[in-house]
Assembly symmetry: C2
Homo-oligomer: 161 residues x 2
């Protein structure tokens, strides 16, 4: 399988990875959520090569995750902002950060805190069931084929422990 075929797969994970499944892309998005918008700021903060940065920003724009917005004319300068679609990736970033906080933090603790504006508290993200509201983890969930699965009989979902 090549990466170009990835978004054709009947798998939402593969399709998402076709958009953001690249380390630089996710680091760029992290900075977007921190309010970074301009080419040279990304470059300075990430230590990414301009070449790769230009490529990743372009792909994110093509996928509707970022949008270019002019912030001055003569000479035209544009910055990159998260679209609604991009903002919706916050859950992905949060999940990654949260795992890192739990399993990769050094003795000094988590590097950044997330403050919930609503209640003013430092929060951890919890994942819960949209139907009953209860908190869920891996063992609470069973996976089964949905409508978009298609009729590839041969690719049977194995038993989930």
């Amino acid at each position: 399988m090549r990466w170009e075929e990835l978004d054709q797969q009947p798998c939402s994970l593969a399709r998402t990875l076709a958009v953001v499944g690249d380390r630089w892309t996710l680091l760029v998005l992290r900075d977007c959520f921190l309010g970074i918008r301009r080419f040279d700021e990304f470059e300075k903060r990430l230590g990414i090569t301009r070449h790769v940065l230009a490529d990743r920003l372009k792909k994110l724009v093509d996928h509707g995750v970022l949008i270019r917005v002019p912030y001055q004319q003569r000479p035209l300068r544009e910055e990159y902002r998260l679209t609604e679609r991009g903002l919706d990736l916050h859950g992905v970033i949060l999940a990654l950060v949260s795992w890192g906080d739990r399993h990769m933090a050094d003795e000094r603790g988590a590097p950044v805190r997330h403050v919930h504006k609503g209640c003013g508290q430092v929060m951890r993200p919890l994942i819960s069931c949209s139907e009953c509201g209860e908190q869920v983890s891996a063992r609470d969930i069973r996976v089964e084929p949905g409508e978009g699965w298609g009729d590839r009989v041969e690719e049977v979902l194995p038993q989930v422990r």
Copy 2:
């Protein structure tokens, strides 16, 4: 920045990406959550080269995400199972799948459904605040430096919109 330095950064996202920030790794993990455990099964399902698969499995074992468990002696054969640390990555997979379901699904809908064993319903994962229980999205959260931030004054968190 090289990938070897990534887990040294004072950023939980970067540190998590040092472990799982690779498309193949995440696809391998997806299959782990579907119950796949053996080398040749991963190979068949993913269409990954054996070379890369061996490398990714080894890295996941080194990072304590997977563990090798013998399932027969003579000849010794081992399978790969998620550790607790690995199971805890479920939130990451769920977040990625969920975004794909919302933004990358074709007209037929989501390829797989997640059933919450607790209530028996097909669920979507919701993210909520650990302190007040309210549902949160990108705009409800403010980021600020935490204990593990260190004293790099120059790297100021920019204003978040």
